[in-house]
Amino acid sequence: MRKGLVCLFLFFAGVGVFFTGCSGSASSEKESAGELNLFIWTEYMPASVLDAFERETGIKINMSTYSSNEDLLAKVKSGGDGIYDVVVPSDYMVKMMINEGLLLELDKTKLNNIENVEQAYLNRYYDLGNKFSIPYMGGVMAIAVNKTKIASPIASVSDLFGEEFRRNLVVLDDNRAIIGAVSKSLGYSLNPATDEEFEAIESKLLELKPNIKLRDSDSPKTAMLNGETAAGLMWSAEIAICMQESSNFTVVFPKEGCYVFMDNLTILKTAKNVENAEKFINFVLRPDISKMISDEYPYLNPNKAALPLLTDSYKNNPASNIAPEVFRNGEFVQDAGLKVEKYDELWTKFTK
């Protein structure tokens, strides 16, 4: 009898494995004019865009995803040459990857659509002159508020410490973002420098701890939409989706300034399909394609040529069509160097 049950178990396990295998191999039959290996954030590139590119050029795209810049860096460094062609690091990670010599200098003559990108988002600290990177999508971290649950006005992160938020907040599971936001609410930089600043941040952070119901980087909007929490610190696009779903939600950009980010299209030095990578980047920068991406993922779109094409729900939503001054007054996070250990210690205390 025991043997029979073991067989049963193996059968069930085996069936699962078998069908997993099937779905993977069915689509790889098509004729193709070369390949492109795209490594990008989860929920950041609609399948419709990949299909359109494949239809137009015949180039087959293999997309894999990551959910943090650190994850991206670790996989690029340990993954071996030529596994990925195009990667989409955020601002500070672009700088780190340039410093490590991982990125290929772009051939602008093949990327004529770069002129579609709004000047304000080019030539930033992490890649002056945009030699290695072109802005793809960006955003800020802001406060999402459920108006039906919170009566008092919210203007800053320091307004989230009150009793009414006890176990009522969802925040990103991102130490730099949350520590940075608390730091800014105390009047420091998003990138605190001195030990005194870190000490002040630590005590403030522990004050915030009882108010945190959950930390979630993947989909903090779900906690807001389910009524699990009354307010939260999350990326602007998540708030934009909340606001599309229900008029109960509103976005507050903290008056002390936001954490801003910009994700950038780059090509790895070890890429095997450089020409296809250039074609793809140029394709993504086309206004009609950029619109397709914005329709699906309402991040800040730096493509000025695409703006007139975008839907009203993008243009009229302050959380997706972020005002230029909000972005200008914000701050980029910077690589912390050896201070990452400090951040990790703070975060461990905050989350234990």
């Binding site: 943090s68 990452v340 461990t348």
Partner: protein, 291 residues
């Protein structure tokens, strides 16, 4: 002694051919990575987040940091609770499975295994829908008038334990089922003949005889539950860190592979210690690996 050619071709060559792929597999994919983990646990990191190969003990000293110790404590208590609840649920389940008809036994087995067809992340997410503030359970309790305000069930330590028990239960049922199934029924009959009631028979005959299965199950539940960081993330909302969270964060966010390696070495040490206790008590390693 002369070189024995027949023995070489008939014994050594086949042995070499059969065993070397498995050995190569073990060396390449287990021994070398483990050795690497051990080596970098004595290293530090550079400013550009690479590993500096210079000897230091600071990672091991950091293990005794108050915050780290409290996470160990929290993690161990979650694991103990998980193991206890798993035994309490799995033992009667396995017992009934042995006693019942073959058809029902198969159905119970299928019922236990079928959820494994679904990704465990999705299964854990569904608990959020059930137990959330506006979830079905709260809605129902409010509807029938038991409570007025929703109870906070998700994102607590109890929710983490629930998630662990839910994920790991089959690993407790199977070894316990195996020992109860093998139980010599004449011993139970003898106990009854000598006038013991069911409770006495259970306590003095059945339980001692099935203890190895319980212990095997405890090991197979306790050890993974120290590392299943996604359960703590999804069910605890990230507020109830276990050792696994700490390790994954060192590798994924803090760029501190050396400290992550040190924490992993500690976890391996805990595992070896528990397995040693298990074998000392007469448990067999085979029963940990097989169903």
């Amino acid at each position: 002694m002369l070189f024995d050619k027949t023995k070489f071709t008939s014994k050594t060559v086949p042995l070499f051919v059969m065993v070397s792929p498995a050995t190569a597999w073990l060396v390449l994919l287990i021994a070398i990575p483990l050795l690497y983990i051990f080596v970098i646990s004595f290293c530090s990191t550079t400013e550009s987040h690479n590993i500096a190969f210079s000897f230091t003990l600071k990672n091991y000293i950091k293990l005794f940091d108050r915050t780290i110790l409290s996470i160990y404590w929290n993690s161990l208590s979650v694991s103990v609770l998980t193991a206890v609840f798993c035994v309490l649920i799995a033992y009667p389940f396995a017992y009934i499975m042995v006693k019942t008809s073959p058809l029902k036994r198969t159905l119970m087995m299928v019922g236990l295994m079928l959820p494994f067809w679904t990704n465990s992340l999705i299964r854990l997410y569904s608990w959020r829908t059930l137990l959330g503030r506006n979830g079905y359970v709260n809605d129902f309790l409010i509807y029938i008038g038991v409570i007025n305000e929703p109870i906070e069930m998700m994102f607590t330590r109890s929710a983490v334990v629930l998630g662990m028990v839910y994920t790991l239960l089959p690993f407790m049922v199977l070894p316990i089922f195996a020992v109860i199934d093998k139980l010599d029924k004449t011993l139970i009959e003898a106990s009854k003949d000598l006038g013991a009631n069911f409770i006495k028979t259970f306590c003095y005959v059945i339980l001692p005889l099935t203890a190895p299965g319980i212990f095997a199950g405890v090991i197979m539940v306790f050890i993974p539950s120290l590392g299943l960081f996604f359960v703590s993330d999804l069910m605890g909302g990230g507020n109830n860190q276990i050792i696994g969270n700490l390790i994954s964060r060192q590798f994924k966010e803090a760029f501190n592979w050396p400290f992550g390696a040190t924490l992993s070495i500690m976890l391996i040490a805990i595992t070896i210690f528990l397995v040693r206790v298990y074998t000392k008590k007469g448990g067999k390693l085979d029963e940990l690996g097989a169903v």
